[in-house]
Every structure is written in C-alpha cells, then in structure tokens.
C-alpha cells in the first residue's frame, strides 16, 4: 500500500493542493458503506508512484458528522504519509487537527497554506519555530499561486525516506538498561495503541500554546474580496447582492443554454448527426416498422440526439458551471445565513437551502447530500420539497425550450409557480413530519475567486457523474418512446387515456406518452410535448404536470434507499395525484379566461 492522505479542516484549499499535485486525472469514489465521496489520484514523489487521497475536510478526529467519521477511518486504515494542510489565518483550530494526527505516528508534512490571507489579516508566523514545536516539516505555501508546492514534495520525499523509528518495547530491551529506555511509540503495536488511548493529548490547550509562541498579529489590511465578503454578510447590501447573483446565474443558464442550443447543438444534431444515421439506416434496411424504430420521427437514433444532446446537455453543462463557480466562491454559506430567518419560518434552517439549490441540478446528489442535515425530519422535508417543487436541470432545460416557444411571460410564471409550490410543500411537510430541526451551525469561508484548475476538475467530475447516472434511464426512456410511437401501440393507449389526458388536462391524447416516460426521467415528461403543436395553455398545463409529476426512477430508488419504502411511496403517489389534479385545475381556470 503506497497511499498518502491529504487532510485538513474544511475550506483550507485542500482540493487545490490535490489538483496541483495530481493533475487533471483523478477519480471520485465513495467510501465503502457510506455516501461520502473522496477524490483519489496518482502522483510521483522521488521517482516512486503514490496514490494521493483527498480526505473529506474534518475539524477533528472525534467525528461530528459522517464525512468526519470517514476521515477517521482513513487514518485508522493507515498510510505512508500525511500532508496536513493548515490555514495560516486560523492556525489555532487547524493545529488541533494537526496535533491529533500525530497520535497515529504516520510521517507528517504540514503545509502552512493561505499565507497571503494571513498576511492581509496581519498575522505573521515563524515557520522554523512552528517546525520545532510540531517536530515535523512545515512548508509555507500559497497553493492557489503554486507557491511552495515543490518544497512540499521535497519535504514529503524526505519523510518518506526516513526510516520509521523502531519501536523499542521495554520487554525487548536489555534487562540492565530497561529502566532508562522509553517506549518509543510506533503506533502499530498493541502497546502503542494502549498508550495513546491512555494519554489523550488535549490538542486545544497545546494548539493555543503553540500559536502564542509562533505567531504575531499586526495591522489588518483587508482586500477588496475580504470587504465584499463582509459586506455580503450584512442584510444590506447582502440580500440585494444575493438576489442579483441569483438573477445573473439564472440568466446565464437560461440565456446561455438557449444560445448554445440554437447556435451549436441544434444545427449539429439536425444538420449532421441525425441525417447521417437516417441515410445510413435507410440504405441498409428495408422500409417498415423496424426502420422507423431506429430513425423515424421518434426513432431511437433521432430522439436520443435531439433530446439528450440538443435539448438538455447545454443546460446541464451551464448549470454545473454556474453552480460549481458559486460553490467555490463561498457564496452558498452566505445565503444560507442571510435567508436562515425565512427558512426557519418555513420550518427548516438556512443550511437546507444549499441542498435544495443542488436539487436544481439533480435530485439524487441533493438527497444524498442532505445526509449532512443533522435531523431526520429536515432530510425528509428537504427531499419532499425537491421532489415536488424543484425541477432538475434536465427538466428545466426541456421546460425552458417548451415554454419559451410561446410567450415571454410563461417562463417567469412557471418559476413563480414553482417557488410558491416550494413554500407550500416545505410548510406542509414541516407540519406533517414529526421531529425537530436543528438550528443553523455553519462556518463562513473567505470569499474567493475560484481556482481555475480545481474548478475545471470539479466540473469534469460532476459532468461525468451526471452522464454515468443518467445514461441508462435516458436510453430506457428513449427505447420505450421509440417502440410505443413507431409501433402504433401509443395510439391504442391514447384511447384509454383520453378521459384523463384530453378531457381533464385538455391535452392531445398522444401526450399520454409524456406521462409514461416521465416515470423514468423527468425531462422525458416534457420532451415529447415539443413536437405536439400545443396551444400556450396546453404547454403551460403540460409544464405544470411535468414539474409536479413524480421525480424519476433514480429518485424513487434513492428515496427508498435513504428512507423507508413507505416514505418513497408516499412522496411518489402524492406527486402524481397533485400533478394531475393541479394540472387539470389550471386547464379549467385557463379555459375560463380564453372563453
């Protein structure tokens, strides 16, 4: 085993180290038996290859969350060395972890990072003295600017090549010198473990003492980003800034997505890819149902490109660009503080907002991510709100394309509707689910301009995850769509669905396919509507039904896995009933206005 652990408190720039040390190729894995994911990549130290593991950020080895428990498990399963990243602007708390890590007797190198921030905060640290106090190499770094990384590798090579201190046990020592020989801890024998348990070091006391000795505080010179970060924490101008940022974010995703679709993906699909497959299969196969299933109007080789590549991909890409950017700047914890009072009135807390925003990307990671919530009630409320009222970006993309074709006000109306729905569902779920919700406890990181490399890496990982999770259900939905439409089976089903689809919802009978496909994936409850030549009211009703309709098979699976099957079924059934009921209601009300 030749692995090296990269550890540290949350928000110390750990992932920048990881990206700079391992390059762009890395894999994200889940820790066995948990939903906590970590990154691993390979890098070379002194001509030897090692696996570097980006351990989830942790405050302490006495865990207070699942992610921290995983960090502790990594320590216990051993490593060749640890790189411990310390935030120089917040040395005391960082040193607590730094000192706790020493109990394991794994070779350590400390990276004293964020020295630029510390400098602005008027903090100077005597690195040499800190090195003596910690009895391990301390390398000053500013990882975002690549400063100190070469020295870090040199020091890492040094500790890797230093032979481990032999563990001299009193019983092994010569009898005549027995009394003088101390038991030098190796960390691996039972005696060592026993000793380390017996004498718990109070890391806090020690850390305070070390910081007092090695650091000095002078004048503070705040940068523009520091001031902006502080200003954003005040309701004025913080709340207007937050709304402005959200408006820009939505604008970039919707506007940019439409632009990418119209200028690049649609011409590519309609002009190049689909004609290619049409010509290919028409030349190879005789006319008939089989050919139509492949390349007919709803053929597999037609809709898979039209729906996946041209319809949803541009929006998914832009959403993750914007979300990852906002996440890396430190914007999300700030809005969770600013809006905690409103979220509290809704029965949850500000921190839930981060998971819910993530749900606008995809419900699955958002529901998994809600594990960070400390109470079961909060998790269920978050999950219910996401399932009912938060459209995933694939679905949003399809809805944008559907609604923008009619009138400018339809998209804002749908957004308003989904927000009202969000408030209603959160309130109702908060009343129905028993239990309590723990108050907000969150650290506010410095406001940062994201590091380009880490940003790209995170984006690539997210897009890969999205494609991996979505490809199978998407293909299932597409094959069902092609088989039903091109075989004529759809027309038979449509007859039976007429009372519901045509009479109650006011949609063309063929729209029943949207309800069938919507079971598999959310955007598939919108995509078939695009070719149906609907009126504005029909499009809006279709959009509302799709928004409320049950949140795809993957979400059902994750609900059943994370909670009880009863909760998964309750959420799923109520979404279907609500979708059909509200959709029909809007149709009726709309008819009155038109008539």
């Amino acid at each position: 085993m030749s692995r090296i652990l990269l550890m540290g408190n949350p928000n110390v720039g750990k992932s920048i180290f990881f990206t700079e040390l391992t390059g762009i190729h890395a894999i994200s894995s889940n820790y066995a038996g948990s939903t906590v994911s970590f990154m691993e990549g390979s890098f070379t130290v002194g001509g030897k290859e090692y696996t570097l593991i980006d351990v989830p950020g942790t405050y302490s080895l006495t865990p207070s969350s699942e992610a921290e428990a995983v960090a502790t498990s990594f320590m216990e399963s051993g490593a060749q060395a640890i790189i411990c990243v310390l935030d120089a602007s917040n040395l005391e708390r960082n040193l607590c972890l730094g000192l706790e890590l020493q109990q394991y007797n794994i070779p350590l190198v400390y990276a004293l990072n964020l020295l630029d921030v510390a400098d602005r905060h008027g903090i100077t640290i005597n690195t040499k003295l800190l090195e003596q106090e910690l009895d391990a190499p301390v390398v000053p770094t500013v990882a975002a600017k690549r400063q100190g990384l070469d020295e870090l590798i040199t020091k890492l090579e040094m500790v890797l090549n230093t032979p481990k201190t032999d563990c001299i046990h009193p019983t092994e020592a010569k009898p005549e010198t027995n009394q003088e020989i101390e038991h030098i801890s190796c960390g691996n024998c039972s005696l060592c473990r026993f000793n380390s348990q017996k004498e718990p070091v109070d890391a806090w006391v020690k850390a305070k003492e070390i910081v007092r000795r090695v650091s000095n505080k002078n004048d503070i010179r705040l940068s523009f980003m520091d001031r902006l970060g502080e200003a954003m924490m005040k309701p004025m101008p913080g709340i207007p800034i937050a709304f402005l940022v959200m408006a820009i974010a939505i604008g970039v995703v919707i506007g940019g997505g439409r632009g990418l679709r119209a200028l690049f993906f649609l011409p590519l699909v309609n002009g190049v890819i689909v004609p290619f497959f049409r010509n290919l299969f028409t030349a190879l196969l005789p006319e008939g149902m089989f050919l139509n299933i492949l390349v007919g109007e709803f053929g597999i080789f037609v809709i898979s490109f039209e729906w996946i590549l041209a319809l949803i991909f541009p929006y998914v890409l832009l959403f993750y660009i914007v979300f990852t950017f906002l996440e890396d700047t430190g914007f999300l914890p700030r809005i969770s503080v600013l809006f905690d009072n409103i979220m509290r009135k809704l029965g949850v807390q500000g921190g839930s907002l981060i998971h819910m925003l993530m749900g606008y990307g995809c419900a699955v990671p958002a529901i998994i991510g809600s594990r960070a919530a400390t109470s079961r009630k909060e998790r269920i409320v978050i999950s219910a709100a996401i399932c009912f009222a938060v459209p995933c970006i694939s679905q949003s993309g399809a809805l944008i394309v559907l609604l923008a074709g009619y009138a400018w006000w339809m998209l804002p109306a749908m957004i308003l509707f989904s927000l009202l729905l969000f408030v209603a569902v959160t309130l109702i779920a908060g009343k129905l689910v028993k239990g309590t919700i723990d108050p907000l406890v969150i650290e506010i990181p410095n406001l940062l301009i994201p590091n380009p490399k880490s940003f790209v890496r995170k984006l690539i990982t997210r897009m890969k995850h999205f494609l991996k999770d979505a490809e199978v259900p998407m293909m299932i939905a597409i094959i069902i769509a092609a088989l039903l439409s091109e075989s004529g089976l759809l027309n038979i089903i449509a007859v039976y669905a007429q009372p519901l689809v045509t009479y109650w919802l006011g949609l063309p009978a063929e729209a029943v396919i949207a309800l069938i496909l919507g079971i598999v994936r959310r955007e598939m409850s919108v995509a078939p509507l695009l070719v149906l030549d609907l009126t504005a009211l029909q499009a809006f009703v279709g959009g509302v039904v799709s928004l409320l309709y049950l949140p795809c098979l993957s979400v059902f699976a994750i609900l059943a896995k994370e909670f009880k099957i009863k909760i998964a079924l309750t959420i799923t059934l109520s979404t279907i009933v609500m979708a059909l009921f509200v959709g029909g209601l809007i149709n009726r009300i709309g008819q009155l206005f038109i008539a």
């Binding site: 302490s60 207070s64 917040n90 005391e92 708390r93 914890p333 905690d340 108050p439 406890v441 969150i442």
Partner: protein, 80 residues
C-alpha cells in the same frame, strides 16, 4: 489588562459588535470541533432580524453563524 465584568448572558442577546468570552456551551460535538468552547473569545458581528442567526468572529480568526435556538443555549460574559 482586561477588566472582566460579571455579566452572565446568552450569546443570542449579546450586544452586536461586543466581544465576549464563552462561559458554557451545550454538549454538541460539532460546536466544540468548530472551535467554540468555554473560554473562547467571540465578537458578535451581526444579528439577523426575524429570528435569524448571529454571526460570530471567533478569536478574531474566522466566522461562524449560529441559529437563534442554539445561540440562546450558549452563555457568555462580556469582556470590556
């Protein structure tokens, strides 16, 4: 150097911009891990209206926000 006034109070009701010493915290591991324990020096930077949280600067080094219901359970003593 510091003239400590015996002013036992809870963190939620502390004066904004005031600097305090934590005298007791509820037994919640996360708070302790985040660096909030008896003896910690905190400055209240902001208190948000309508039952919002308090924003704290811990030991002049980093910021933490605490919801109203948890801040109320933390006792503080003013440092003048």
């Amino acid at each position: 150097m510091l003239n400590k006034q015996e002013n036992l109070n809870n963190l939620y009701e502390g004066k904004v911009k005031g600097t305090f010493q934590v005298t007791s915290i509820p037994n919640i591991r996360l708070l302790e891990n985040m660096g909030l324990r008896a003896g910690t020096q905190v400055t209240i930077q902001n208190r948000y209206s309508l039952g919002g949280p308090v924003l704290l600067r811990i030991e002049e080094a980093y910021s933490i926000a605490l919801g109203k219901d948890i801040a109320k359970q933390i006792s503080i003593r003013e440092i003048i």
